[in-house]
């Protein structure tokens, strides 16, 4: 009987601690997931902006030669993404370039 009540006394605090740790983990995971969604949506918006810019600025001459200012399109992509994330600055534009250089296909 003694042991039983000692166990009863021991379990609630232990459960409370476990519960709190689980909640913390849950909260952290939820925040991370939300952040991922935000980054993904901002990247989607930037992608959309870049495509629109490309469609607006693409030039085709009478011989069928197509020219496109890739730098301009890339600039719009970077600007939209960084503004979306609210971290736009000239410095971050340069940093973005060094981490994710534009690839011309």
């Amino acid at each position: 009987m003694n042991r039983f009540f000692s166990a009863v006394l021991f379990f609630p605090p232990m459960l409370i601690v476990i519960l709190m740790l689980s909640l913390l983990q849950y909260q952290t995971e939820a925040s991370t997931e939300m952040y991922e969604i935000m980054v993904r949506d901002c990247a989607d918006a930037a992608n959309d902006a870049a495509i629109q810019e490309a469609l607006r600025t693409v030039n085709s001459d009478i011989y069928g030669r197509v020219s496109l200012d890739v730098e301009q399109v890339w600039h719009v992509y970077k600007y939209t993404f960084l503004t979306g994330m609210n971290i736009y600055s000239e410095r971050n534009m340069e940093l973005f370039d060094s981490y994710c250089p534009a690839t011309v296909i």
Partner: protein, 165 residues
């Protein structure tokens, strides 16, 4: 046999656990739902503006009403930026975005419709002013100070605004 106060304490702790555990779990789930609703409202509003190419009072009110359904207070800022392409003389072009100022915020701003052109940019920033129930609980129970998430989203205008006049 355990002493009487120990039994009382055990029962009290068990009661606390049974009461607060579901309460905290429900609050956290609600918190996540609120975040998702806020973010969806933000992206929806930005999409509407970029499709129409015009910032209108009506759309803004609908957006604020959607945010209000979360039960939280928000500070909303809408920034419209006009795109300028400037030649640098050597055959290349430099793109600059010029902000005509804050179009709208919860504390006021320009009320008239603002017509945008395709290629312009719009940025919407939302800052929660009040605490969610879950963060209040976490702060109260664990003394954790969780910062309110600031939501920001930007997109490029797809159509000229004067098409909708």
């Amino acid at each position: 046999m355990a002493t009487f106060p120990s039994k009382i304490l055990a029962v009290f702790l068990a009661f606390l656990l049974l009461t607060f555990a579901p309460l905290i779990i429900v609050s956290l789930v609600q918190d996540i739902r609120t975040e998702r609703i806020t973010w969806n409202a933000l992206t929806d509003y930005t999409d509407i503006v970029t499709d129409k190419g015009v910032l209108t009072e009506n759309d803004y009110r609908e957006f604020v009403a959607k945010l209000g359904s979360t039960g939280l207070d928000f500070e909303v800022s809408v920034l419209a930026k006009n795109k300028m392409v400037m030649p640098d003389g050597s055959g290349n072009f430099t793109i600059k975005y010029v902000s005509s100022g804050l179009w709208k915020s919860s504390t006021g701003g320009i009320l008239n419709n603002v017509y945008l052109e395709a290629g312009d940019s719009i940025q919407v920033i939302i800052k929660p002013l009040s605490q969610t129930r879950a963060s209040a609980l976490l702060q109260g129970v664990l003394k954790l100070h969780t910062n309110n998430t600031e939501y920001s989203y930007a997109a490029t205008v797809r159509n000229d605004g004067d098409l909708y006049v």
